[in-house]
């Protein structure tokens, strides 16, 4: 687990992309996220780890207001993107989600062709003026999703006909097609086999050059492999947040240590 790469990875101080202060989330009467303060940096992979039900996915969904779709969910505190409060009444969640893309746990391509899957976002946001523009966006996105070579001859085939790993890369390509600034990934590899997982992880590492990536994962090895920063959630609290290397080698909180050594979880 203490992969040497972690130590080699240089983490410079970077611009802060997303910042949460005093964030609370309630599902009805359940207090799911308790007073979370966190600063997520630009061009960095930040991993959220923690046992099931600790609130890491919930918090991730706060970052692009996907929790709005759940009637009983209520968010308090402030979350800012580039200094702007995303829960401000003036903010349209649709615009926010164009900036903060999301990849879900289960690959969920639209039941349409591969091309249409990618083109959908650019179309509704008006990113392409001509068919050629759109073709270019589709190709670029599929290349970034490391899927182009596999599907370039069958862009008209249904996206649901791809294998699980290809579907997930399609979803990632779809998410990057709208040129987001932040990419949220909710356990993107939990439904994939090790080979597909490796491909996706490699992809995440490449995406880091352009985006701020936040990834929720159950696999601590994965967090250690792909992230520069790691946040450990437990029972709705953000227990510890810091350099990935430091969290895995020298955690300051005993709960973090218990979790990463497998005693709780």
């Amino acid at each position: 687990m203490n992969d040497m790469r972690i130590l080699e990875r240089s983490v410079g101080t970077k611009e802060i992309k997303i910042s949460a202060r005093g964030c609370q989330v309630y599902y009805g009467d359940t207090h799911a996220i308790k007073d979370v303060d966190i600063d997520i940096e630009d061009k960095t992979v930040t991993a959220f780890i923690g046992p099931s039900g600790c609130g890491k996915s919930t918090f991730l969904r706060c970052l692009n207001r996907m929790n709005d779709t759940i009637d009983i969910a209520r968010v308090e505190g402030t979350i800012t993107l580039d200094g702007e409060d995303i829960y401000d009444p003036k903010v349209d969640p649709v615009q926010l989600r164009a900036k903060v893309g999301m990849v879900f746990q289960k690959p969920n391509p639209f039941p349409k062709s591969i091309y249409d899957n990618i083109a959908y976002g650019p179309r509704i946001h008006g990113l392409a003026r001509t068919k050629a523009d759109l073709d270019e966006i589709v190709e670029k996105s599929l290349r970034r999703g490391a899927l182009w070579d596999e599907v370039k001859d069958r862009l008209d085939a249904p996206g649901t006909g791809l294998s699980g790993g290809q579907q997930q890369r399609l979803c990632i390509a779809r998410a990057v097609a709208t040129e987001p600034e932040v990419l949220l990934m909710d356990e993107p590899c939990s439904a994939l086999d090790p080979i597909a997982t490796a491909q996706v992880e490699e992809l995440i590492d490449e995406l880091r050059e352009q985006y701020s990536v936040v990834i929720v994962t159950h696999s601590m090895q994965q967090a250690a492999r792909v992230s520069q920063k790691t946040a450990f959630f437990h029972l709705g609290n953000l227990v510890e947040f810091g350099e990935t290397g430091q969290i895995f080698t020298n955690p300051s909180d005993p709960r973090t240590e218990s979790y990463i050594t497998g005693r709780i979880g």
């Binding site: 164009a98 879900f104 639209f110 349409k112």
Partner: protein, 455 residues
């Protein structure tokens, strides 16, 4: 039947598991297998009973109904006597119009007498009037209409294909026998002998009854003339109203309730009430339609428009319930995916959820329409059942607004009438109605398949 009960022996249970060959089934397994076998047999019996009912039903309908699709006609050359039809000899339409059907009947009587004599068929009557029992009361009207359409034919001999009376028609189909007419004042055994003779001579023929499919209802005394055509148009116009109103309203209401409406007590109440509406007896909708559409809104009575409105009320809950079920069945991951790339709520619904729910919505709609097509009770109350002496609608507007009947109402009306010839027509009407329902269901299945295959 299933063996869910815990071992009564308690602690002894695991011990029983040890040992024993895999080849020999133990008592518990045997019991389980026997239970499964019994259940399979019950299931097959249930399916068998259901199939038997369907076969019996279809058999009875076919046996009774096919006769409605046959009709006996007499082919008679009628001399259109100018002395009777146009006494002044000026061939003026006004003068010719003055001759009523009573003036035409003797011509037909004489024509029959003549052809019988020519062909040497036995059993002629003393009075030519007696031949009338062979023919439908509509025969004279048919000849008159022909003459009025073109007065120049007066003086010629024209061959007419005239409807036989329902008794003669029934005799050829086996419904009327010599015993059954013993006390019948309308026809005698001599007429039946004559019918046999004419049949042998080829003057009388039983053919496929197109008029039954295209024609209008007829009065009590001339069942041979009655057809389903006009009531089919009535049903068609009603269905247009139902489809045009209930599909958009139902789908819009379902989408709002399912995707946009906040989940609170008020929407819960609406939901419960929609389910309740689906269970309301259709006659209640009928009286509601009578009160609201006819007495309050003063829409015309017996009009397909009103019938369509009432049936829309009935169909809406069916469509809403099935549409909501179809929307609910769309996996939430699709909604997430759309929202995740920055689609608005409405875009996610109309671009992704609705197309996926389409087969379910269409199926629900067509099933709702099929229900509405077969519905009779609400039509009783808005005056669409009864002898509605209507002709074909003149156009679209009259189709919606003129009094008309509907297929099931027409069947009900015929079944009520005394003449057994109408009973036969009622069965025939049922066949037509069932053909429509089957067609609709097949369309539902085809649409479903096609939409599902797209992905």
């Amino acid at each position: 039947m299933t063996d869910l009960s815990a071992n009564p022996a308690g602690g002894g249970a695991p011990a029983a598991k040890t040992g024993g060959s895999l080849y020999a089934s133990d008592a518990r397994t045997r019991r389980r297998n026997a239970a499964e076998k019994r259940f399979r047999i019950y299931g097959m019996i249930a399916v068998g009973i259901g199939l038997a009912f369907v076969v019996a039903l279809l058999g009875v309908i076919l046996v009774n109904g096919t006769r409605g699709f046959q009709q006996t006609y007499l082919t008679v050359p009628v001399y259109l006597d100018p002395a009777k039809l146009d006494k002044k000899g000026e061939r003026k339409l006004e003068d010719i119009k003055k001759v009523s059907t009573f003036g035409y009947s003797p011509l037909i009587d004489n024509a029959i007498q003549k052809i019988l004599a020519d062909r040497g068929i036995d059993g002629t009557f003393e009075k030519p009037k007696e031949y009338r029992a062979l023919l439908s009361a509509s025969a004279a009207a048919q000849v008159r209409d022909y003459v009025l359409a073109d007065p120049r034919v007066i003086g010629e001999t024209v061959e007419f294909r005239l409807l036989a009376s329902s008794r003669v028609d029934g005799y050829l189909k086996g419904r009327v026998t010599r015993e059954s007419i013993a006390r019948d004042k309308n026809i005698s055994a001599a007429h039946l002998d004559l019918a046999d003779g004419m049949l042998a001579a080829g003057l009388m023929k039983k053919t496929f009854n197109w008029a039954f499919i295209t024609g209008a209802d007829a009065s009590e005394s001339r069942p041979e003339q009655a057809g389903m055509g006009v009531s089919m148009l009535g049903s068609l116009f009603m269905m247009l109203v139902v489809l045009g109103l209930s599909l958009p309203i139902g789908v819009a209401a379902s989408i709002y309730l399912e995707e946009f409406a906040p989940k609170n007590r008020f929407t819960d109440l609406i939901e419960v009430n929609i389910s309740n509406l689906a269970a309301v007896p259709s006659i209640v909708f009928g009286i509601l339609g009578l009160a609201v559409f006819i007495q309050f809104a003063h829409l015309p009575q017996s009009a397909p428009l009103v019938g369509g409105l009432v049936l829309t009320l009935m169909t809406l809950p069916t469509i809403i319930i099935s549409t909501r079920a179809a929307l609910k069945a769309v996996p939430p991951s699709i909604r997430d995916a759309a929202l995740g790339v920055g689609a608005s709520k409405m875009q996610s619904v109309f671009h992704h959820v609705l197309p996926l729910a389409m087969p379910g919505i269409l199926t629900g709609t067509i099933i709702g329409l099929a229900q509405a097509l077969g519905e009779t009770a609400p039509l009783l109350l808005i005056g669409m059942v009864g002898y509605i002496a209507s002709n074909y609608p003149d156009g679209i507007a009259s189709g919606f607004l003129d009094p008309n009947s509907a297929m099931p109402a027409q069947i009900y009306e015929w079944a009520k009438r005394a003449d057994p010839a109408y009973y036969e027509r009622a069965w025939g009407g049922i066949i037509i109605l069932l053909l429509f329902l089957m067609t609709m269901n097949i369309i539902a299945i085809i649409l479903r398949r096609r939409f599902e295959r797209r992905w």
